[in-house]
Symmetry: C2
Subunit: 208 residues, 2 copies
């Protein structure tokens, strides 16, 4: 079998497994998948040699549109604040659509992803990587003054977590809206900097 | 039995039930509690007439220190940005201490609270109420210009959710720090307003 065929078959089986995961309410092993789709164990094992390969294929399938969104936004010629907003809102809309299409399947996939976070981490790292590029572009135009990129990254991640962590959709779906996300991005661009505004009250302390 | 005695007994049993919930890994009913502490069913039923009364007593016990923190911060004479920071950081430190003392018990209590959120809602509403007071004080000094209080409330809740939602501790504990929380509060005070900064890109659109 040539490689494109193998890839196509892998993607087809991963899509089936993802759907089946939601319907069964738990992880689908290669054995279960083989029985469900009527494909031989040998065939499944040729495509997913390791137990975790099937899970990885499902994770890839889940994040594929997210990666495409991030790459499209980065390649666009929008100004930095517009890029930030699109970077978040497009992935948020995608998650929301998935959630509303089938809330219980969505919950199962989120829980699995959290439990086997080590298989998901590379996609989280990739999102961080792209966000760092956006931060650098923004800083080149004078935004987020004085902040190290890693510092800006962690602060922005924390202030936008309501729109990136799919679990939040499950509890406060109706409170998450595009216009609030836009207000959050506007707040970041208007207010995020290395300046100590005095909230912690320790800036005036000096060693004795 | 007079009321103070009943209250004391109720609090003692709730503390026992909270501890037992963590150790058992699931909700403790009045029956289970009666068997565990060697108190008669009749006695337990006198103190917790409804099934949900015990759960409510545990929830109260959990939030008691949070309510005390919020009231103390509100009554202080700190400037608004310092109040905001203390309002969040003191409750965050309390949650973090509880989490680190016994992560699995903490996880069980969080999960129960999420599953029976209707019993927890009044405390979430109370926190919103206190936050509205803080927002009003801040606006009286010129912060968050132009925003309706409810709008400021929901935006601030979303931008600080990493420090209020106990679930986050369980996944990114080491990334949540006091100095980042202070930077977030500083960002809110420097940047949050009703001004459309253009992130959503729709401000220029007009009906055709």
């Amino acid at each position: 079998m040539n490689t494109p065929d193998l890839r196509q078959e892998r993607a087809r089986l991963a899509a089936y497994a993802m759907d089946l995961t939601g319907r069964r309410g738990g992880e689908v092993t290669p054995e279960i998948l083989a029985a469900e789709v009527g494909v031989s164990r040998a065939r499944i094992e040729a495509i997913f040699p390791e137990e975790s390969d099937l899970f990885d294929a499902v994770v890839e399938l889940w994040f594929e549109p997210h990666v495409a969104i991030m790459e499209e936004v980065l390649a666009s010629d929008l100004p930095p604040n517009r890029k930030f907003y699109e970077f978040y809102v497009r992935r948020f809309r995608r998650n929301r659509a998935e959630f509303r299409r089938d809330p219980s399947a969505f919950a199962v996939l989120c829980e699995l992803g959290a439990r086997r976070f080590e298989r998901v981490r590379s996609f989280v790292d990739l999102a961080d990587h792209y966000l760092c590029e956006l931060i650098a572009e923004a800083q080149a135009e004078g935004h987020f003054p004085g902040l190290e990129i890693d510092r800006a990254l962690t602060l922005i991640n924390q202030m936008t977590v309501a729109y990136t962590m799919p679990d939040l959709l499950q509890t406060v779906d109706e409170r998450l809206t595009e216009d609030k996300l836009a207000a959050i991005v506007d707040t970041l661009f208007a207010g995020l900097s290395a300046t100590d505004g005095g909230a912690s009250g320790v800036s005036g302390l000096r060693p004795a």
